[in-house]
Amino acid sequence: MSDVAETITRVHREEWARLVATLARRCGDLDVAEEMAAEAFAVAVERWPLDGVPPNPGGWLTTTAQRKAIDRLRREVKREEKHREALMLTDEDPRPLGAIDDDRLRLLFTCCHPALAVEARIALTLRMVGGLTVPEIASAFLVQESAMGRRITRAKEKIKVARIPYRVPDRADLPARIGGVLTVLYLIFNEGYLASGPGTGPVRADLTAEAIRLTRLVRALMPEDGEVVGLLAMMLLIEARRTARVSASGELVTLDEQDRGAWDRELIGEGHALVRERLASGQPPGRYQILAAINAVHTDARDVRDTDWSQVVALYDHLARLDPSPIVRLNRAIAVAELDGPEVALAQLDGLPLDGYHVFHAARADLLRRLGRSRESRAAYDRAIELAGNTAETAYLVRRRDQLAPDDAAGTFTGSGAD
């Protein structure tokens, strides 16, 4: 890639959200804002290799996009209203570029509005704030490009017609609405981390990277929010283990078998620092901060045998008080197995309403295997394989299942200690 092309890519990453956000505020229409931002970048791709990169690329893009918007509105001037909009656009914004960070916050809160379906929020956030193209988002979520295009168009239309406001929510609504934004970021990260479907690689590094980048942005915009810090720390500590988590042959490598030397020390250092920052704040942690702390305990151990399991279980206890969901109890039971043995853990899994969740069956399979109950373990692996959507997880589960003694020999080696 040439220097200019690289610069354009970098500027796109850095300036897209700001550009869309500024334009959306000035012209009051997300659709127009998105289109003009895209057009401005198209002009940059054409001009910059010839004219050179302007000294202030962000300012240049904003001016270019605004000119495009004015031209477009002039062409469309049929009604008084459009006249007014055109006038609004020509008003010079007194605030210098770069100081209008809350425009991006407005954009984020609009894209993550609770009146939009979760899938629409994710797609819209990736398009408007993340600057991903519709084909990129479609392929990330294994949806047809035309369907993803319609999803985004429909969401923009609803924002416009139903008047979803372009602003940061009131103080009273803010905590719940920040929660909604963090959910979207978390889901983007998760889809990258545990990519679903047989047609995709087991990890979508582009999506995890994008989720981290957006979360960093949210943290810069709302530095006082502990849960934003917690979410970022959790993502960094999981991302740090990404390359160690899938083997060369594409199979999931579980935490206890990972090559800890391959973990990214820099990301771990940053994640640990964020967790310490939250601990030092003395404020009660929310769920993301607790999840970050759990990941900090795991990444603190040089060897899996050094893992402080009682600390992990204590953190899950804390989490269960905030969120008594079956999934939290499942994860707690997995940690309990390391502390109190598989029998205790298995009893805690009994009756959890998670029959449709592959991790539940995979956890049962593992505990049953450790208890020498091969036949039941095999059945649980079968069920987990049936439900798992991630290729690396499926490969791992199939291997573990096939390592079990065949059914007719089950029990023969129980308790022999020969494994």
Partner: protein
């Protein structure tokens, strides 16, 4: 200002008529809508048995006794409110739903 239709949806078997307590809560909510300048119009509807479907697209109007589609959920009343944006309308819809003890579907009117 945008106008929104808040349709009150009844989704249980049996008589959809509001109880005395529900009616009282609706009155309180209506008063507040008027005091705060959100009120445009509101009304309760007769049960679907009282509906007549009229289709005059042909030469002669065709009358059908009853609603066009039988559904488990149907509209039993509505409010039309005026609000600055969807966040305000959502808050009104939540208050309305609580007052009448039914769920509410919120839809914007198209700009004229």
């Amino acid at each position: 200002m945008t106008q929104y239709l808040m349709s009150v949806i009844y989704d249980e078997p049996g008589d959809p008529t509001a109880t005395d307590a529900e009616s009282a809560a609706i009155d309180v909510f209506n008063d507040r809508l008027q005091a705060d300048g959100h009120w445009v119009f509101a009304g309760g509807l007769g049960v679907t048995d009282t509906a007549t479907t009229v289709d005059a697209r042909g030469a002669e109007p065709v009358l059908t006794d009853g609603p066009f589609v039988e559904t488990k959920e149907y509209v039993v009343g509505f409010w039309i409110v005026e609000a600055a944006d969807l966040d305000v309308a959502l808050r009104l819809a939540a208050e309305g739903s609580k007052a009448c003890n039914r769920k509410v579907e919120l839809r914007p009117f198209l700009e004229p």
